[in-house]
Symmetry: C2
Subunit: 273 residues, 2 copies
């Protein structure tokens, strides 16, 4: 979302996040596909002209099927990330890190090999980076020890490019970069995905022609921590957030009032004590 | 489940786990109550005579409501854990650790104060312990640094009892105990909950009178990691596991065949590569 807003400031973005069922990266491909299909259905019910699957686990497990099922263009983050990594490497050795689901899917290996047959790929699940970023431990002693445990040896292998194959990982890029040293360049898919989105919208004649711009945030759960974490990603305040029901056969609607999760959390804790 | 099987070897246990929506401890009280109600509905459809809410986040957020709604006796883990802690402390200073949801609910403070008005309670969310146990990092350098960060200073506060307020935490008891030192006793609610279950079943005349004993495992997702983690908890092989659909208005049934998540994961990864 941050990359898109920078690249396409004239487009309205409907954001749907699924904290009720988060994280996806620990789940089976079947379940991720089911969730992603429900999520996309919600976005379609809001009248979107394009869907961006801005989650690497969902992109890895569900993209071909979503492309087949949805009546609008669908863009994932795997292909753009792979392109950025292939463009960056000089040693032709790329490492990819991601959730268990992303790495198990093999989607990055496929995407990179389609672009460059001779590249050697080291793919490694680094699941604890997700809760680490959620906890806000972006560059402390715990982050350092976890990064060392997952990444030690990668630079010695001649890897010169590390693809951050999860939305959470760029938050940890300082500690990851320090552990790997200056010979390894970190690559993420945000900018490349935003560029692809622009290209795709322009190609289909779908760019906004002067209509009003308004972003909206829908969430499946108003979890107390979400706004804190979300604003850390976004780099600015999120404004009002609306709870949306998905994964329920009868309803893809939203509840009556817009609520702010921070004030909601405050109310809830006052009520409970 | 481990505690129950030891205490009540003649009872059949129907286990339902929700890896599709796991973890609960990061979610709002509303969402946890909704999920717990759906989960209990599934168990009722299997004909259980009692429901044990063996998750501290769900016990903290949903127990009173479940007791009101369900037609069978319901037992949580908060009350038994509080009892064990109050019995253990000599300094009358108890620390409780749990997920964000459990600690935010204040359920442990309530339960402990109902039993012993004068006890001082330090309640602290330690959310990263959950993915740490899932990753199997039970006693390495990462576990040590995380435990230090969360727990440093507790022993200095005169705390002599630490209540492990999450099913995952007993797996980390070695490193937690080392960080806190010998003056602090760790308490969990498994044995006390099993004792309460026995008492309750005996009191209601519901103990099994010689019928066959058969345990069953139902899961909302056959995630590749589940069986590994589950057997770590259970201390023995789980046998066959069946995928169950919950959270869907139309169905609380199970899919046609029993499948083993390990062989499922193996099949899936073979298909993908």
């Amino acid at each position: 979302m941050r990359g898109l807003r920078r690249r396409l400031p004239d487009e309205s973005i409907i954001y749907f996040g699924d904290p009720a069922r988060f994280p996806y990266g620990t789940k089976s491909a079947d379940t991720i596909l089911r969730f992603a299909t429900e999520d996309a259905g919600f976005l379609l019910s809001r009248g979107v002209k394009m869907v961006i699957v801005a989650c690497h686990s969902a992109s890895s497990s569900a993209l071909p099927e979503l492309e087949r099922r949805l009546p609008v263009p669908v863009l994932g983050v795997v292909e753009p990330g792979a392109r950025a990594a292939v463009r960056t490497t000089k040693t032709n050795r790329i490492a990819v890190i991601g959730t268990s689901a992303t790495i198990a899917s093999g989607a990055y290996e496929h995407a990179i090999r389609r672009l460059a047959k001779k590249v050697e790929i080291v793919a490694k699940p680094t699941p604890l980076f997700v809760p680490l970023a959620e906890e806000g431990w972006l560059d402390n002693d715990v982050a350092e020890v976890v990064a060392r445990r997952y990444l030690a040896g990668l630079a010695d292998d001649g890897v010169d490019t590390l693809l951050l194959g999860c939305t959470h990982f760029p938050l940890l890029s300082r500690v990851i970069g320090r552990v790997l040293g200056p010979a390894v360049t970190l690559v993420d898919s945000a900018e490349e995905t935003a560029a692809s989105a622009e290209e795709l919208l322009a190609g289909e004649g779908l760019l906004n022609q002067g209509g009003p711009v308004r972003h909206r945030f829908y969430l499946s759960d108003l979890a107390p921590n979400f706004q804190t974490v979300g604003e850390r990603f976004l780099g600015e305040p999120m404004g009002d957030v609306v709870r949306a029901s998905v994964g329920d056969a009868r309803s893809t609607g939203t509840d009556s009032g817009a609520r702010n999760p921070k004030s909601h959390a405050r109310r809830a804790s006052r009520r409970k004590r």
